[in-house]
């Protein structure tokens, strides 16, 4: 019961973990290379969600400091970090997609199983 309430209270963490596992599973098992890249993004995004969820405080304001006022602010650090993370994910995605384009030019397919078949026939 304790675990169950723990899960219900922290459902946003659970969503992030489920997304992470979906991404990882797709990335490792699907043969289509574009799907692998998409799954990589899902995986990264889930961690970004988790990070942003950590920084969230209920009822708090955006962290723009007003002199003298006694306000609770949300933690700005996870947001800033995840912006960096998103940039990194974008560059990895761009590089991965350009690799897929190049591989496609050799094999006329994005499917890794088909590529293995073509290679085994040679």
């Amino acid at each position: 019961m304790e675990i169950l309430t723990g899960i219900i209270d922290n459902y946003y963490y659970m969503v992030a973990i489920i997304l992470f596992v979906i991404g990882m599973y797709t990335m490792l098992t699907h043969a289509n290379m574009i799907k692998k890249v998409i799954a990589m993004n899902i995986m990264d995004t889930s961690v970004f969600l988790l990070f942003v969820a950590i920084g969230y405080t209920h009822g708090a304001q955006a962290p723009i400091i007003k002199e003298g006022a006694d306000i609770i602010y949300v933690n700005p650090l996870p947001g800033a970090l995840m912006l960096t993370g998103i940039v990194v994910a974008v560059s990895v995605t761009a590089y991965a997609l350009s690799l897929v384009v190049k591989i496609y030019r050799f094999y006329e397919t994005c499917d890794y199983d088909e590529i293995c078949e073509i290679r085994s026939l040679e």
Binding site: L83, V87, A94, L97, S98, V101, K102, R105, F106, Y107, E108
Partner: protein, 156 residues
Amino acid sequence: MPLSRRTERRGGGTAIEDQIVRITSRLVAPFIQVYGIYVILHGHLSPGGSFSGGAIFGASLVLVALSFNLETGAKQISHQLASGLESGGAFGFILTGLIAIAIGGNFLANRAAGFPMGQAGELFSAGAILIITVFVGIKVASTIVTLFYTIIEGEE
């Protein structure tokens, strides 16, 4: 040797031949660019900044190249210039950090090194951050253009 059957697509022959798209994008592009510059310059004052602004600016250049053809796009900014700017933008970032060392702070120090702070909320404030934002904006915009060209021209 590539097995590709699609080599005849070279030279931007597949660009959209549509007047509506062309006129619209020609009209809209300058506004997008101004907006991109606005977002870059106000990075230290409002949401957004070098990455978002640079991406907006780069997207406008890609839009023109897509709706016309590669030659028209290259008239705006050539592949060579874009990759040159890319190196230059990144190097400018490092240079700003090194200037901070030269005037007596740590690497990338801002106020601690003595960059003028200005009045909070004005455009020319926050010292080195504005300089860095501009350099990173240039870098991001040119990177997006370079990526576009690299993927399009890849076969050469």
